[in-house]
Amino acid sequence: MTERLVVVGAGMASGRMLEHVFEASPGAFEVTLFNAEPRGNYNRLMLSPVLSGEKTYAQIVTHDEAWYRAQGVTCRFGERVLSIDTDAKTVTGERGSLPYDKLVIATGSDPFMIPLPGRDLQGVIAYRDLEDTERMIALGARPGARAVVIGGGLLGLEAAAGMQARGVEVTVVHLMGHLMERQLDPSAGYLLQKALEARGIRVLCKAVSQEIVGEDGHVTALRLEDGTDLLCDLLVMAVGIRPATALARAAGLAVNRGVVVDDRMATSAADVFALGECVEHEGALFGLVAPLYDQAKVLADTLAGRPAAFVNREVATKLKVTGCDLFSAGDFAEAPGREDIVFRDPGRGIYKRLVLDGDRLVGAVLYGDTADGAWFHGLIKDRTDVSAMRDTLIFGPAFQGGAPADPLAAVAALPPEAEICGCNGVCKGRIVQAIEGGATTVDLIRATTKASASCGTCTGLVEQVMALTLGDGFTANANPPMCRCTEHTHEDVRRLIKSMGLKSIPAVMQELGWTTAGGCASCRPALNYYLLADWPDDYRDDRQSRFVNERNHANIQKDGTYSVVPRMWGGVTTPAELRAIADAADRYNVPMVKVTGGQRIDLLGVRKEDLPSIWSDLNAAGMVSGAAYAKGLRTVKTCVGSEFCRFGTQDSTGLGIRLEKLLWGSWTPAKVKLGVSGCPRNCAEATCKDVGVVCVESGYQIGVAGAAGMDVKETELLLTVPTEAEAMEVIAAFIQLYRENARYLHRIHKWVAKVGLDWCRDQVADPANRRALYERFLHSQTVYQADPWAELARRPQDWAPIADLTLRAAE
């Protein structure tokens, strides 16, 4: 007997299911197929190749009219289904009702549209169907057309690459820190971004969209939270999908996030089934095609009365953008007992990361060389015990079964003409020759052969050649590596960040071959500093890579409370400021108010959740953060100078205030404290500061590299200059020299001891060089001289507990 099967939705899942049904139960069903789109089944995954011009629509149609006719399918395309009556077992479309024996809901998903102001403007589209694709293709025909894509996931990037291939100027705006964050870790995301940028797509990560701007009802720009307007003729939102459940919900079926189905793909109503992106199975939703095809098979069996059960299995992702070789499979989240194997080849832009859980491979991310993706995916799916091949696992199937590799033996086996340093074309023989000629340290090898003197990534190889040549006579670099995540020293990392133009933490970790996936608490703050000091325009501060004090802009105390110190320029205050401080101390029950050694007032014992409001109060009285927590400018201590003191030779108070106003807000490798004394009696104790000025009748003596902490040390004279303006320029230039060259956490006196005071003096005495340093400092200040309190106090909710269960418990 023929049963009436009604299918709502002609997508990839239902198309595949119908194939199975006709194959397994020929003649068993009389099928009616509804589709809201005015066409039948096509391969939606292939819209991206259609967009980029690699395929035509005709080539991606999976079932044409002839096929429907041959199978006797009644097609009701371009007709919406209005309702389902599960008691009467009828479906009502725009052109009338019909009864069913079995019903399949395959309504798919709707693109999620961010509720931004202006989303209803003309030219704001999703990327979902052929119509959207055609809009993007049409844009490519217009010379000078611009598009913005919101969303740096799979779909958004395919849309961006497709439009770019058609000549559109494309910007991708992504909320998260790196592209495709669901499938990729930050390192692979970085490489992907680099590849997309190289082909001319602009990528903005951590960018928050605020408003869609339009003119005459048509979109003209996307406005970001920071005020930037990205001009565009078309705006594509590709931020995700939501199961289309309205019809099922109205019919009274059980619906959570998707239409709830069991292992047989049956919904809560008798004879009603569902599959595809509209369903929810054991809490999971589906967006990739592989599980949908599995569901299609299971549902075809269920309809035929055969037992079958759907099992959600591991799926792999590949990005369909020509030239971006990218593969991700399984689970690569951090978890206990899991270990990473990371391989990076910076020269070829390759990154591979395998995640092991005990003896099993559970996740893989490959970038640049995805040839072994299928093999790794197989190991993940089959839960193969990989312990025997662990040492060479990352090199893929070609390397299995051989003897374990010894890196030193591999270097020993190299012929003398093998190239070690690619940058300078230095071969192994030349290095051996240099070592035999007396170059017994890496620095000497660099000086005599240039090997490892440019990008430095071959340093490890050079050291291995030295170990082989010198035997026991070789001791590795005395300057230890930055941390256990890398073999590079701080100095090397700083040099390479500049010479290789590395502008993000993932970029540094990839190009310099970090051995961990995400660094550690030691290298991350250092890298964050190096990047923001070297690239003020390009790098955005990573708050989560900062120590607590700099993240919260307050000093944490032993009991977890904080101290708050407003800036008091040059140690000078006013009755109004003192009143505001006293009011704040009262209002927030500050347990201790203390005068600091740096001539300001410390409010100790403030609770974290009170920080935003105490900051707003102090801001309202005109005060800004004193940065008493920062690896940055702290205080400028002054004496009263010629304004009041009978011995004062210059306006030391005024100079101190002007210096503090020039330097505040700048981040430095370690804290920086200044002092300005109006005469050699030195009441401001300027001669034990990082930078100390002693005023004399003829001008200003600028001393540097003093210390009064763990080490006590008098300053050394850098320069004496006749005018205050010159003193300011010399000091700012010197601070910039320190910012650009010192190692993270080294105070000025430690750094000067390493590089030598003479070198510092040469750098700032030369007028052209001094001016250049000074201007770089001023430029950096245009970015960083901003009061953090004013910004952070705007989001008080971030400072309070996220939830309070003590209240719920009391209920």
Binding site: R257, G283, P336, C520, Q544, D559, P801, I802, T806
Partner: protein, 111 residues
């Protein structure tokens, strides 16, 4: 299975960061890793009671902000040369929400 309570949206916790939940058993730090795993543990270092929620999160570990002890987020155990452990609680994400072990609602007398 442990009963779980819906606490907040995952995006309310910064990646590689943490937020605090007040409970009758004391403050609990809710961590989110770079790969969106969530972990919950007592917000109190066994060394000198430092707030672990303010530490730098790296991989599935956190470094205490006061004296640099490192803890595994899943086991709560101190790493390296330090010994000690922090109490951990079950936490998971589902549909962009973060859920936490409901025993944390237990009255103070149960602690």
């Amino acid at each position: 299975m442990t009963a779980m309570i819906d606490i907040a949206a995952l995006d309310d916790i910064p990646r590689q960061g943490a937020r605090v939940v007040k409970t009758p058993l004391g403050c609990v730090a809710l961590f989110r890793t770079a790969t969106d795993e969530v972990f919950a543990m007592e917000d109190r270092c066994p060394h000198k009671a430092g707030p672990l929620s303010e530490g730098i999160v790296h991989g599935s570990q956190v470094t205490c902000p006061l004296h640099g002890w490192v803890f595994d987020l899943a086991t709560g155990r101190a790493q390296g040369a330090d010994s000690g452990a922090v109490r951990t609680f079950a936490a998971r994400t589902e549909g962009g929400r973060v859920f936490l072990d409901a025993t944390l609602l237990a009255a103070r007398s149960a602690a």
